[in-house]
Amino acid sequence: MFKQFTSVFIGILLFIVFLLVSSSVYIVDETKQVFVTQFGKIIRGPINGPGKEEAGLKFRYPFINEVHAFEKRYLEWDGAPNQVTTKDKLFVFIDTYARWRIVDAKLFFEKVRNESGAQSRLDDILDGEARIVVAANDLVEVIRSRQREAVIPEANVLDDESQLKPFNQGRSALAQQVLDNAGPNLKEEFGIELLDFRFKRINYSQEVRLKIFERMISERSRIASKFRSEGDGEAAKILGTQQRELKTITSGAYLEQQQIKGKADAEAVKIYADAFNQSAESREFYEFLKTMETFENTLSKEDTLIFSTDSDFFRYLKQSSPAKE
């Protein structure tokens, strides 16, 4: 019986020793930073804080020392979509994110206890700052970030509404303002270092969105009717050119034709004149020949010729002797 109790006792003893040993060591993970409190008072740490490489096995007094571990890594903060009215009176939802880490674990522990406390402080502060910054600026300042010229495709040359809206500061400057406004405060008060703050999404609220859609539709239909009237105009221009060229061609041809003919006629006239106009005798002979020719060409069976027998032609009808001169 005694032997039995001894082994049970040894077992219990071993268990206690194990408990003591295991609660007097602790592991600091690569991703954690810790500090140690004794009766609620910080006596050591932070161990493995930002910029330090102190992960590994550590010792403490069992039971009276408490180890508080916090994330060493960069942490994310994801803001809830937030409705804001911009300076130009547009209702938008802004959705933001930030990155932060715990740089002063003591302060962090004292002020916000844990991460969820920190997240809710970040919600308050960052949402608030973002709201202030966005409300103080026109919408375009949160949208644009880099100065550049829009590349306008040929198809939309006339569409002046499709230009980029000009801006002064831009998105990253606004984000920087939030960072500048919230950062030092967070660090001093909560031991939180804000590494980055960015606007994730910017969306119009539902009713503004409908208005934007309307505007887009009307803009598109303006472009569409522009295309159509351009088509009409271009076609009319081509047909106009066609008519002009047609007239130019035909009248040009007529001009040339008349000039050529005129020149030829003039030459013919000159040739005739030179031939017929040699002397009075040639003129008379021409007249005679021409008259003869005309007789030949003009008289037909419809005409009636009345000759007298004293004409040159019929004179021998009556007599065969030569005419009495």
Binding site: D29, Y74, S221, L239, T250, L289
Partner: protein
Amino acid sequence: MVDFPNEIRINPAAINKLIIGGVVVVLVGIGVMTCFYKVDPREEAIVQRLGKFTGQPVTEQGLHFKLPFNIDKVTHVEVTTVKKLEFGFSTQTPGARTRYSPRSRGQADASLIVSGDLNIADVQWSTQYVVSDSYNHLFKVRNAVETFRAMNEAVMSEVVGDRTINEVLTSGRSEIQQEVKDKLQSLANQYELGIKLDKVILQDVNPPEAVKESWNDVNEAQQERSSMINKAQADYNKIIPKSSGEAEKTIEEAKGYAVERVNRAQGDADLFKQVFSAYQKAPEVTRKRIYLETIGKVLATQQRDDGKGGVVVEQGPRKVIMDQDAKGLLPLLNLNQEAK
């Protein structure tokens, strides 16, 4: 230990031995089993000894030894696998005919992005990346992938915010992909995410559903414009070359006329000159001869070539011949008519 009447008696020392032996066997078993880990071809292993990173990720494939009982903690990180994040849509069953889940509200919101001309574009994209630095990926950032997701949205909305809706929907696509990729990479480096960007791919980029129709109408109008222009051009092409041909013809004809006219004139003139010089040798006789010949021809019944190979017989004019002393013209005239 209390003895029960019906219980089989067992030596307590034996029980102790059995318990201790059992515990030892279990411990050794667990120890041996937790002494090994394997590394797959597509991953590397991060080993932490008592929480502390051992300095180098284990990249060599195969079975490796470690200290048991969670003294060494091993985390496997896939490093060669290309991972994919989807925005505005989500793949349900990837494959040759990939099926996509219906879009949730959140996805639709993520993909509606305000452009630089304050319009709205529906941009869906996916980002492919690999884990390039498993140490940073695990130890520098918590939830590296979630952070990366938020960065994606922020960068895409920033890049789209610097472009007009036209650029987003048409010409600027590849430029956007490149810019988003570059910006994301430098941001990932800055955040020490241990992520290397592989690709940013714009999937569907559309005008929002509500305005799609008006965008299509613009395309249609554009088509109409070119078809109108083409039609006019066709009409132009039909008329102008023909009329210049005709003009050419007119001019050539005129030239023909000119040559003919001058030649004829010259011919007539030459003829006249010849005849005239012959005439001058015997004017009286020639004159009379020509006169008589002409009258003869005029009064005669003539046979003329009709130009088609046949012969046309033409009668000369009606002739009335009166004695110069005759009186009373009419009876003769009538007689002549009857004779015809």
